[in-house]
């Protein structure tokens, strides 16, 4: 009970001190705003940069998710060890029997799709278009979780028989057929006629700015036999039962492929296995390094802003020496004076923080619409994240405490008589 009264009493005291602080700040409006400017810019910069970084990360994540659910990618060629390598898919070391072996021999694998890919000129009627043709199995759409807008996938039979059928991405469908329904129509891929079985729903731009709907998917057998030629695969998609299996399946794939490719221990893999998660990490690594850099710059601005607050608080303590003397003369304890100036500094910095947050949110809203008015500005998505807003507000308040402490302590240590005599 006593503690309760004590707490209530301190609460009232702090509230009245805040009121005094606000009045003091209002008295020097221009000065307060200029002082808070460092904090305003710092907080706004941090929030805008984090907004951009979060937006980019969000897009990358959505992108990675569009790879499919619980997916492991196996690429031809190795990029994991020392020496010169030709990069993903360059060496063409994976074969269709490899894919079959993975599907049959590894327990938790529920689907495997070989993947071949090459760009071709395609035509329908008097329209033509340059696009990517991807060869995959009948389970390819299930693995990648791609939905059909109309029509349906090709079947196992189509794959086995290397039938000349295909599924169009939204962009390709629009380019070749406009508003017409493409289902059942014939398109010529590099002059080979293919029948359109289905159209995928639109997925929009990827993080890198490529159009994810600018694609044609055909049975990999058809793609290999009639378009690409050869028997090696660029890559494979392997889907597991659950996310927990990804790690073990990844190892099993490596072991199986090393065995099949007769790679003796100590030699490098001639393939690369990546889980979705690893790909996501690689994609976000650069953007997080960049945003760390910007947050660092923002933090420097916050520190400079804090020094500005310290400077102005020192000026304020000097200016108000007599006021401090008067307050002490009527019974203010040193702690009361300390609290008053500390609260003033914190009020100043949190006020800067609040304006900075407003400005930062404004920037986050503005950045995505900028390309509409300034075509040179790249398209960037932003995401306003509440935890970071709370964090930056808390940080600006903390700056007030940190940089306000020295001037406040100086005020509290004044001698009442000296202070009263100060002109």
């Amino acid at each position: 009970m006593n503690l309760f009264i004590e707490t209530g009493y301190w609460f009232l005291r702090i509230v009245s001190t805040i009121r005094v602080a606000l009045r003091a700040l209002r008295r020097n409006k221009m000065r307060s705003v200029l002082t808070a400017l460092g904090i305003i810019i710092g907080v706004a910069a941090v929030i805008a940069v984090i907004g951009i970084a979060q937006g980019a990360k969000n897009q990358v994540e959505a992108q990675i998710a569009s790879l499919g659910r619980n997916v492991i990618l196996v690429f031809s060629g190795s990029i994991t060890r020392s020496g010169v390598h030709s990069g993903h898919g360059g060496a063409g070391t994976l074969t269709i029997p490899d894919a079959e072996a993975i599907r049959l021999e590894i327990k938790d694998v529920i689907a495997v799709s070989p993947e071949v890919r090459r760009s071709f000129q395609v035509a329908a009627g008097n329209q033509n278009w340059l696009t990517y043709v991807v060869g995959g199995s009948a389970t390819y759409f299930q693995i990648r979780q791609w939905e059909f807008e109309s029509g349906a996938s090709y079947t196992e039979q189509d794959v086995r028989g290397a039938t000349k059928v295909c599924v169009l991405g939204k962009t390709v469908a629009e380019q070749l057929f406009g508003d017409d329904d493409p289902i059942g129509k014939i398109i010529r891929i590099s002059n080979v006629p293919f029948t359109v079985l289905g159209v995928l729903t639109a997925k929009g731009l990827s993080v890198m700015g490529t159009d994810q709907d600018d694609v044609i998917i055909a049975p990999y057998t058809s793609a290999l036999k009639r378009l690409v030629g050869g028997t090696t695969l660029r890559s494979m998609l392997v889907q597991t039962d659950s996310a927990e299996d990804l790690g073990t399946v990844r190892e099993q794939i490596t072991d199986l492929l090393r065995q099949r490719h007769r790679i003796t221990p100590g030699k490098d893999d001639d393939f690369t296995v990546r889980t979705q998660e690893e790909i996501a990490q690689m994609a976000t690594a650069t953007s997080s390094v960049l945003s760390m850099l910007f947050v660092a710059i923002g933090s420097i601005s916050l520190v400079v802003g804090g020094i500005g607050i310290m400077n102005i608080m020192l000026v304020s303590v000097t200016e108000r020496t007599r006021e401090i003397g008067i307050r002490m003369a009527v019974g203010a304890r040193p702690r009361d004076i300390l609290l008053q100036f500390l609260i003033e500094a914190v009020t100043l910095s949190s006020f800067g923080g609040l304006i900075g947050i407003g400005l930062g949110i404004g920037l986050c809203k503005l950045i995505p619409v900028l390309p509409k008015y300034f075509p040179d500005v790249p398209q960037m998505a932003t995401l306003i994240s509440t935890p970071y807003i709370i964090l930056s507000f808390a940080f600006s308040a903390a700056i007030g405490i940190f940089f306000g402490f020295y001037p406040a302590r100086r005020a509290a240590r004044l001698d009442p008589i000296e202070a009263l005599r100060y002109e």
Partner: protein
């Protein structure tokens, strides 16, 4: 009567550079409850230093100071602040009001630091009552710059009274005021003393000291004379006399 102030061989030495300055050299003084004392002396006599010690704004370097029986010479900064807040009302020569703050808020100031808890309504009530006592209730919303010197000093007195101290200390309270206003302020102090408040003030003007009950004269940091006021002036009488004189001036011009 009980002693409000008991000074026992109070000394104050200032260490300025190589020479030690003895501002107060062993002052022993007792002030009983209900007294009205004027400490007098030329500048440099140590009366202001003594006043600051009495007001717990400064600490003696030697001797003992008992305020209401408690030895405050041993108190730390916080305890001295509490004593200033609860037991002493201090009035300054230059008023020392917070500018850009209303008279009422100036009077409320000590209650901001009090350790007894008051609701804001009660704080306001008490501040208004204190302003009424000095006859300035209708000026509560005015800022010091909108008040005359005499009014400002009355606000300062109201501020000194608001926490109902047993002792009112005034350092040259009329020093910045004209003679007429000075008499008015002395009248106010006389009235407060009649109500039972102990008052100790510093002045170097004999006609102001004549309004008090006891004069203590200091020279070179020591008390050289301590006597009751033989011919005490009554502020009301003096004011009437001044008004009559004004009237006479008006009639002649």
């Amino acid at each position: 009567m009980s002693a409000v102030i008991q000074l026992d061989q109070i000394q104050k030495t200032y260490h300025t550079g190589e020479v030690d300055v003895l501002a107060v050299r062993g002052v022993t003084l007792t002030v009983e409850s209900g007294e009205f004392v004027a400490i007098m002396g030329a500048s440099g006599s140590g009366k202001s230093t003594l006043m600051n010690i009495l007001g717990c704004l400064d600490r003696a370097t030697g001797g003992h100071y008992y305020l209401d029986g408690a030895d405050v010479s041993e108190f730390d900064r916080n305890e001295l602040a509490d004593i200033r807040n609860q037991k002493i009302g201090f009035v300054f020569q230059n008023f020392n009001l917070l500018s850009r703050t209303s008279a009422l808020e100036n009077v409320e100031l000590p209650m901001l630091y009090t350790h007894r808890r008051h609701s804001s309504v009660r704080v306001r009530e008490r501040a208004l009552r204190a302003l009424e006592t000095v006859g300035l209730a209708e000026r509560a919303g005015h800022h010091p710059s909108q008040l005359s010197g005499g009014q400002q000093q009355r606000v300062a007195i109201a501020r000194a009274l608001v926490s109902e101290p047993s002792l009112l200390l005034a350092d040259e309270p009329t020093g910045n005021l004209d003679s007429r206003t000075s008499v008015e302020v002395m009248g106010l102090l006389q009235r407060l003393n009649d109500q039972g408040i102990t008052i100790v003030m510093v002045t170097h003007e004999h006609d102001i000291a004549a309004f008090t009950k006891r004069n203590v004269i200091m020279r070179d940091g020591q008390i050289v004379r301590d006597e009751p006021v033989a011919k005490r002036l009554q502020a009301e009488v003096e004011l009437r006399r001044l008004r009559a004189a004004d009237q006479a001036v008006k009639l002649t011009t």
